[in-house]
Symmetry: C2
Subunit: 341 residues, 2 copies
DNA sequence: CTGTTAGCGCCTTCAC
DNA sequence: GTGAAGGCGCTAACAG
């Protein structure tokens, strides 16, 4: 049960390996009849090309890498499905690497992908990625690269992001429109561009409506449910719970809800909340969670297409392009204040 | 910015490539001093071995593949984290492939992994995988292989599974202990061993307690929340809702709860439920969901270790071993009937 | 101990 | 049109 190689086929058909190679790759300089004969024979013998050997000689490996920070939440898996849709059709292999929110893993993953000659990489940064040296090197080498969602804006590279600023602005305005003036923002890891933009959106909405702002209004968090829960527990113990909470994502919001409910707060009457990224949990928790709905799978598709474009055009000029995806606000119970209270 | 190869190092140090190779691989037959000198020079020159070329000559590729049916639910990602823990330490690359619950993808994924010379594969079957020809072939070729969770018991290969029979038996008994005699089982895709064993556990628990059994008591489902919701909607419309529901997994149970609540059923008073596989949602939904808690990450670790054992012992004798992991029942509100009603 | 040679499977010149 | 030869980067076998 050994792998049949091009050589075996050549031997069987009594011709040279290069002829076989040409036939299989459908090159010119080959008589149609011989080509067909060879293809038929190859199939019968169960020949399949060895991608390893192919990678060694050729530039293309027909595989790309995806590096994501985590996949416990459903967000990144959903993006990957979008990516796979595009590349599967094109016959590309998609290598998925997970960095466990650690820069060390991320770097190792990137290096491994490069060492394995992937044709390009799609990446979303970990929450601690502040050293971007390796990525900058890749960009300089004109390595096909696309960042999505968790990007660093200083990098000159193709990106697909959500309209973080605007959507957070609108989400905040939505709470304000419910008559809430006392707002806080649970804002994610501090140095990610995504966090910064969303924070800015939050502040600008407050400013626009001439609401008071104060320094402790924005709280740094992780992306996890647990983090949201802990931080709100702390707010409760310090007696600093505001009337409205804008949250960087759904898990944070859900953690917050959990803590609030534990302590007898009524939602949305005592505290109104809105999340981000529309997780499946949003419609399950009680009260159901308002959230910014984003085209997650679409994000994956677009990132894949941007990468494909870079790969297929082997231009020396870097093709950087940024796509900003819009979202919509999905209003549910957690932010619908009944004014007849 | 080209890749420096072993040849470049050889040229720089004025010695032969094989010496370099020996030094880098720390083989015998090399003087420590030359070795150290070479290693130092290689590092300075920024040399990194080309894994592709290595794969071509050697048998080992130091990479393994993981094929999972889906990763929208958190179960499989959690298993993969366990797998990665083991292999990352050993310097192995873990290739993650996702089959979208389709046999066609699964087969393509397996073939690609084999073509890429992974040293072994860890796999959990899709819900539709009933054609196991390719896997059987791999087993015959003594290809290192481990199945987990969604396995086929007829395959003679290493497996890591949960004690599906027993845990479902106990889960069912738990509902019975709450005084429920009118039970149904939402049981997952029909031909997976996992479904069969759990179904058997359910039936045996009923039999042990001499409860009536009837054919429509077990309903085939998918694994998704939506499936659970639809099926219970149907039960409601047909007026066939039982007093207790044992569910093959948490998403099904949560879908069921959603449908029941929509129609004004009280949980657990009108209908008590228990799920399986302890998802994060279980403690968030209201009422909180009782569920069988399983050592998910541990499952990944064990599967990885079984595979590693197969890879490292290059014995011709197949080493098949089945590990059955126990679970514990996590009782929450959805099945706690207050008898003072 | 170190260098030379050959070959993994494939593709790409270059002759014929 | 087709075959022969060389090389991708590395390791292994055999000399010396």
């Amino acid at each position: 049960m050994k792998h049949v190689s091009i050589k075996d086929v050549a031997k069987a058909l009594n011709c040279s390996v290069s002829t076989i190679s040409r036939a299989l790759n459908d090159k010119y300089d080959i008589r149609p009849e011989t080509r067909d004969k060879i293809i038929k024979a190859a199939k019968e013998m169960g020949y399949s090309p060895n991608p390893i050997a192919r990678k060694l000689t050729q530039k293309q490996s027909y595989s790309i890498g995806v590096v994501i920070p985590e996949f416990v939440n459903s967000f990144f898996p959903e993006v990957i499905i979008g990516i796979q849709e595009v590349f599967f059709k094109k016959g590309y292999q998609v290598l998925i690497m997970q960095s466990n929110e650690q820069y060390e893993y991320e770097l190792a993953n990137l290096k491994r992908l490069v060492d394995n000659f992937v044709d390009g990489i799609i990446i979303s940064l970990t929450k601690e990625s502040d050293n971007l040296t390796f990525i900058r090197e890749l960009i300089e080498r004109n390595y096909p690269l696309v960042l999505f969602n968790r990007v660093d804006e200083s990098l000159e590279v193709s990106k697909v992001i959500f309209d973080d600023y605007k959507m957070t602005f609108l989400a905040t305005e939505h709470l304000i429109s419910q008559g809430i003036t006392d707002l806080m923002y649970l804002g994610g890891p501090i140095h990610l561009s995504l966090s910064k933009n969303r924070r800015r959106g939050f502040m600008d909405a407050l400013n626009k409506h001439k609401l008071p702002t104060f320094s402790s209004q924005i709280i740094e968090t992780e992306f996890s449910l647990k983090s949201g829960e802990e931080i709100v527990e702390k707010l409760i113990s310090e007696n600093k719970v505001p009337k409205g909470l804008v949250c960087i994502n759904d898990p944070i919001a859900i953690g917050a809800i959990k803590a609030l409910k534990n302590h007898g707060y009524k939602i949305p009457q005592d505290v109104a909340l809105i999340g981000f990224s529309e997780s499946p949990m949003a419609s399950i928790i009680e009260p159901s969670l308002s959230s910014v709905l984003q085209p997650t799978r679409e994000m994956g598709k677009l990132a894949a297409e941007l990468l494909l474009k870079q790969i297929e055009s082997n231009s020396v000029v870097p093709m950087t392009e940024t796509i900003i995806l819009p979202g919509t606000i999905n209003i549910r119970e957690s932010s619908k204040i009944t004014h007849d209270v």
